[in-house]
Structure formats: C-alpha cells, structure tokens
C-alpha cells in the first residue's frame, strides 16, 4: 500500500486483508457464484437486442431481414450458445432461491419451499410456451 503523507483517520487504517483478484477460481462454488453473477451480461445483451429488434421492425422489411441474417453467422451461434448457458444458470439458481426470498404463509402455515420452486418452474414453462406461440404462430 502506498504511503500517504496526508492525515488519514484511524478508521481507514484498520487492517484489511488483501484478497487476490482471482479468489474465485480456486473453488468451484466460488466460480459458480461469479458465473451466476456474470449471467447478467447475457441478460443486458438481450435487452439491447430487443431494442434493436424494435428499431429494425420500424425501419422496414429489408432491415428486419438483415437483422435476422446477422444471427446466422457461426460467431453469433457460438455467442448465443454461451449466452443461453448463462441465462439457464440464472433462471435455475433464481427459481431455486425463490423460497428463501419469499416465505408465503397460508392460515399461519408456511407454504412448503418445494411448492414455491414448482410454481416458478411452472410459470417459466407457461411464459416460454406463450412467447414461442405468439412469435411463431403465423
């Protein structure tokens, strides 16, 4: 740590253990935590892709076609496989944690955690099917 000549309060001089930058590669649980957190990058990328989709639909049929063709490149397919793996990790970890974040009581009885997890997966299936149906039905 660099020596500073100006006054620092005793609080800021408390002992802080240095943690190596790549502390999360040595244990699979820690790596999994970082991978789960990185899933948000895929989420943001698809938010941007949705904005672009609206834009190309507004621009015209040729632009829309071009937009669809970009996804056919091998690079895009590769990136999308990675992105899908990340968001699946996000969905599964998120749904499995749901009963910890949300404790529901019915007549003073706690709804079993497995029921809440099940409801989440059911909602996931319904939403996925609805989106696919709305987009793909002619």
């Amino acid at each position: 740590m660099a020596h500073r000549s100006k006054y620092t309060s005793p609080r800021s001089r408390r002992y802080v253990k240095r943690v190596p930058i790549f502390w999360w590669v040595r244990k699979w649980n820690y790596t999994k935590f970082i991978l789960r957190e990185l899933s948000s990058v895929s989420v943001a990328a698809y938010a941007v892709i949705l904005i672009l989709l609206v834009r190309v639909v507004g621009a015209g049929p040729a632009e829309y076609q071009e937009f669809l063709e970009v996804f056919q490149s091998p690079v895009s397919i590769g990136l999308n496989i990675v992105a899908l793996a990340f968001v699946l990790l996000h969905s599964v970890t998120w749904f499995n944690l749901a009963p910890k974040a949300l404790v529901i009581r019915v007549r003073s009885k706690v709804v079993p955690p497995m029921f809440i997890v099940g409801m989440n997966y059911a909602a996931w299936i319904v939403v996925s099917a609805a989106v696919a149906w709305i987009l793909l039905s002619p």
Binding site: V41, S42, V43, I51, F71, S91, P138
Partner: protein
C-alpha cells in the same frame, strides 16, 4: 453525498434488481433459444415482417416489451456492479462503477423508451 442518503438508495435498486431477476429468468431463455439458435439454424420459421408489425402495433406488447427491457437492464446494472466490487475487488472505484452500471442502464432505458414510443 452523506452516508445516509447513499444507504436509502439501495432498496430501490435492489427492488429493480429483484424484479429484473424474475422477468429475465422467465423471458430471456426462450428469446435466446428462438432468436439466437432456433430461427437462425432453421429449426423454426422466423416471424413474418408483417406479423412483427402487427405484434408491435399493440400498446400491450409495447408496454410489456419496455418493462422487460428496462427491468433486464436494471437487473444487469445492480448485479454487474457487485460482480465488479467482489469479483475484481474494485470497491475503491465505486463512483466510477455506479456511473458505468446504473448510468448506462438509465441511458439505455431512455433509448428503449424513445425507440418503442417512436415506432
């Protein structure tokens, strides 16, 4: 900025993160599977241009789409902020990271609003 006002912002960003977590967990996998893989690989037909227009003409779709986009972006901003803090030990760059994450999310949400509104 005082400590107190900083602390009071957290629940707001956390709520957006949580809502975004639910929405992205439900909607994003199917969107990636369709637009990223199934359509370009020819497993299913791409939606016709006309049907996309019809779909996006509806205010319900637009509102839903805007909500999904905005919540996904805020979800990313919050989570990525802490990934940088914890994963790369960058807590000392807090103000820069706040601008980069929440700032760019806000800019993108405004952009999304304009694009959807002007359609």
């Amino acid at each position: 900025m005082s400590k107190q006002s900083k602390a009071s912002n957290e629940p707001f960003w956390w709520a957006l993160f949580g809502a975004g977590g639910v929405v992205s967990a439900l909607f994003v996998p199917v969107l990636i599977a369709l637009f990223g893989l199934a359509i370009p690989l020819g497993w299913v037909e791409a939606p016709e241009y006309q049907s996309m227009c019809t779909l996006l003409a509806s205010p319900v779709t637009r509102l839903l789409l805007f909500a999904i986009i905005a919540l996904c972006l805020f979800h990313w901003a919050h989570r990525f902020r802490f990934t940088l803090y914890d994963g790369l030990q960058l807590k000392h760059l807090e103000s820069l990271i706040l601008v980069l994450t929440y700032g760019s999310a806000i800019v993108a949400v405004i952009f999304a609003g304009i694009v959807i509104w002007m359609l």
